[in-house]
């Protein structure tokens, strides 16, 4: 007990010393970095490497749980205690740009040797660009592809997933015919906004119109994608059930309760570790199909970016740390440590990913990703899309009613933004 107590006190003293290193070394710049979840743990290790190469900079890494991150960033901004440099979910960039919390990076990127714009996936880079200015550098990426049971698809007469909506629908029909009654060709969680948004984008919808100040969900483009999405339920390829009704996804997938599922990169590892050994050769991944062939099969552009805060007193040191984390070799090491997919094409070519056939679907998909609308209200809008989509799937509303209501709600959410945009650009000036 006493030894444990002493160790605890020693740990406290050590932690306290870690908080005030500036007093010890002169001429050393201290920067603070916030990392979320597992990334926060790993970056502490990478930071030590960085410090070896940059003895004049010390990086203090603070780990923030994802669930509290958004709030913490906002309150620290208002309270004037933001970090110098940080990881930021790329869907939050518009919000922190609107808050004037983060710094523009165009000039630094243009002058940088390590951050090579051309090496990044275009759709991913685009998530960081608001009003034509880059506010973040992509760190790792996340997108959705199709995971499927290759054995069940083969039994239905297909050796790969067709790349068009029409072909995809035929494959689902064939699956439905060959799979036992009560099972689903595809599991589409009825309580996720991602799928309806993605199908709408694939059909050419921008989701919003008039400089992102009005909903465009009743417009023909979105309607086409939404109808395709709803038809998968109506025709019996998917059951109208939410994530909470799927008690154990991996078990059900192994059992053959459904043959396809649209999900993200974390499930590469999960499927590998959770599915029984006998099934390890019977699952595969494919890029999403599109209305007019594979090229139109876009998906989400998720992930995290590295940003610098305007309040930082050490922007040069902060940028050097961003450059270090962006180097292809560090990116591929980061992948080895976390399994998070790198944002740079060269890091993909150099890492273990190049040899993994299941990762290839992600590599292909990443060339075809589209950001959600880059405005602070995006998440509120997504939640409303999810609610209306679920109402339409469950038959509480027709597609037309659901989308009309969605546009009304979205217009209400965007009222302030509309006012701001018209105020900034009086009639005619916007042309």
């Amino acid at each position: 007990m006493r030894a444990a107590g002493l160790a605890f006190i020693a740990a406290l003293a050590f932690a306290a010393a870690g908080c005030a290193p500036a007093a010890r070394d002169r001429g050393v710049t201290t920067i603070r970095f916030w990392g979320m979840g597992r990334e926060g743990e790993v970056v502490a290790e990478l930071a030590r490497d960085f410090e070896r190469g940059n003895p004049d900079v010390r990086v203090i890494v603070q780990q923030i749980p994802w669930s509290a991150a958004h709030e913490k960033f906002l309150t620290s901004h208002v309270g004037g205690s933001s970090p110098d440099v940080s990881q930021l979910g790329n869907t939050w960039i518009a919000e922190f740009t609107a808050l004037r919390a983060i710094a523009p990076l165009d000039e630094r990127v243009a002058a940088s040797h390590d951050v090579d714009r051309a090496d990044y996936f275009d759709g991913i880079w685009d998530t960081n660009v608001v009003d034509g200015v880059a506010w973040g550098v992509p760190w790792y990426v996340d997108t959705r592809v199709l995971f499927y049971r290759s054995d069940l698809l083969a039994a239905a007469g297909y050796d790969s997933v067709p790349g068009t909506w029409g072909g995809f629908r035929e494959a689902l029909a064939a699956l439905k015919r060959t799979m036992p009654a009560g099972s689903d060709a595809i599991f589409l969680p009825a309580n996720e906004w991602t799928q309806p948004a993605v199908f709408g984008q694939q059909a050419g919808s921008l989701l919003l119109s008039d400089r992102d100040t009005k909903g465009a969900y009743s417009a023909p483009e979105f309607r086409r994608g939404f109808d395709f999405y709803l038809s998968l339920f109506r025709d019996g390829y998917a059951s109208p059930m939410g994530n909470q009704e799927m008690s154990n996804l991996y078990q059900e997938f192994a059992r053959g309760s459904f043959a396809m599922y649209i999900t993200g990169p974390w499930n590469l590892g999960e499927f590998r570790s959770r599915l029984p050994d006998s099934l390890q050769d019977s699952w595969a991944t494919a890029p999403l199909p599109g209305p007019d062939g594979p090229e139109s099969g876009t998906s989400t552009a998720g992930g995290s970016s590295l940003v610098m805060f305007r309040s930082s007193k050490h922007p040069e040191a902060a940028w050097r740390f961003i450059e270090y984390l962006s180097r292809p070799d560090v990116q591929s090491r980061f992948f080895d440590l976390t399994g998070s997919l790198p944002a740079r094409r060269s890091a993909w070519a150099d890492s273990a990913l190049a040899a993994d056939p299941r990762a290839r679907a992600f590599r292909v998909q990443l060339e075809r990703v589209r950001p959600m609308p880059k405005i602070p209200e995006a998440e509120q809008i997504s939640i409303r899309l999810q609610e209306r989509a679920e109402a339409a799937i469950r038959g509480a509303q027709t597609a037309e009613q659901a989308l009309a209501q969605l546009d009304r709600e979205v217009d209400q959410v965007l009222e302030k933004r509309r006012w701001l945009v018209t105020r900034q650009a009086p009639a005619g000036a916007g042309k």
Partner: protein, 302 residues
């Protein structure tokens, strides 16, 4: 005022001294309570939001639009319904449990009273987050002790936190367990103020335990009772932390309370004006509840 001028110099000096003694407390209340409340009221008539944090000039006066939007939001009514559910179920339950515990702890036959008082009070001073983690295990659908106990009497397992029907009862369970110790202490204090002679007289008249409880304990305890009911109700209307750590308002919004909704609007979506309006609507409701309760008290002859 004329009364003041008639009082002698000494009394006036005393009054001045009293104000000076009160000044620190009053200025603290002014700065940390009155001013924020006033600012909140002003905020509730504006559309202060994330854009206004960056540039305050974008905040607009919107009159009663926030109140209108709150009252026309179905989610607000759902949250209000959930809050009333909690107030009406957890309130009486909590008062009953704490009274029962107080009677047990105060009973003459009880040994180690101090120990039991402490044990029952421990949940009140325990960190809610730690308690919530334990309760999440207890209420786990597969491995939870609660379902195990129910299973012994043949009740099929309940998905306490995942099923919209059972999530609120699960929160009630946690809240009652966590908070009854505080009310229990107040009841114990009330019980020890009852003169022993009254019980003695009742016993001499041949009153049973139940008759003593009804005719001696309850009437004497009435002021304590009303106080406990009032503070429990006021506390329960502001229920936030329990659903926040246990369910984040889910499943299907079944545990979203008014304060949780206010928190979401304010600190998740950063719509401060709207959040302030929710706060004042809740304030009016609680004020109404308190007035009704005080009226009931006055009508009852003690």
């Amino acid at each position: 005022m004329s009364a003041v001028s008639r009082v002698p110099e000494g009394a006036r000096r005393e009054a001045r001294a009293a104000w000076m003694f009160l000044a620190p407390a009053l200025s603290l209340i002014g700065v940390f309570f009155a001013l924020p409340v006033l600012a909140g009221l002003v905020l509730s008539f504006s559309d202060f939001d994330i854009y206004a944090i960056a540039d305050p000039s974008t905040a607009r006066a919107v009159g009663f639009a926030n109140y209108q939007s709150v009252l026309s939001n179905p989610l607000f009514w759902k949250a209000l319904g959930n809050t009333f559910y909690f107030v009406l179920v957890a309130g009486p339950l909590s008062v009953a449990v704490s009274l029962a515990a107080a009677l047990l702890v105060h009973a003459r036959a009880t040994r180690l009273r101090g120990l039991f008082r402490t044990i029952y009070f421990v949940p009140v001073v325990t960190t809610l987050v730690a308690v919530a983690i334990v309760f999440r295990y207890l209420e786990h659908p597969k491995y939870g002790l609660v379902n195990y106990a129910l299973g012994l009497v043949g009740v099929p397992p309940v998905d306490w936190l995942g099923d919209p029907r059972f999530a609120m009862p699960a929160i009630v369970l946690l809240a009652v367990w966590k908070n009854f110790g505080y009310n229990m202490l107040i009841f114990v204090a009330g019980l020890s103020n009852i003169p022993e002679e009254q019980y003695e007289a009742a016993r001499l008249d041949g009153a049973s335990w139940w008759e003593q409880f009804r005719n001696v304990t309850l009437p004497n305890l009435m002021p304590t009772f009303l106080f406990v009911i009032l503070i429990t109700m006021l506390g329960n209307f502001q229920i936030f932390a329990e659903p926040y750590v246990m369910t984040q308002g889910g499943p299907l919004r079944a545990t979203t309370t008014v304060v949780l909704l206010m928190y979401e609007e304010g600190f998740r979506w950063w719509r401060m004006g709207l959040a302030a309006a929710i706060a004042f609507v809740l304030f009016v409701i609680m004020l109404g509840g308190t007035l009704i309760q005080l009226r009931l008290t006055k009508e009852r002859p003690s």
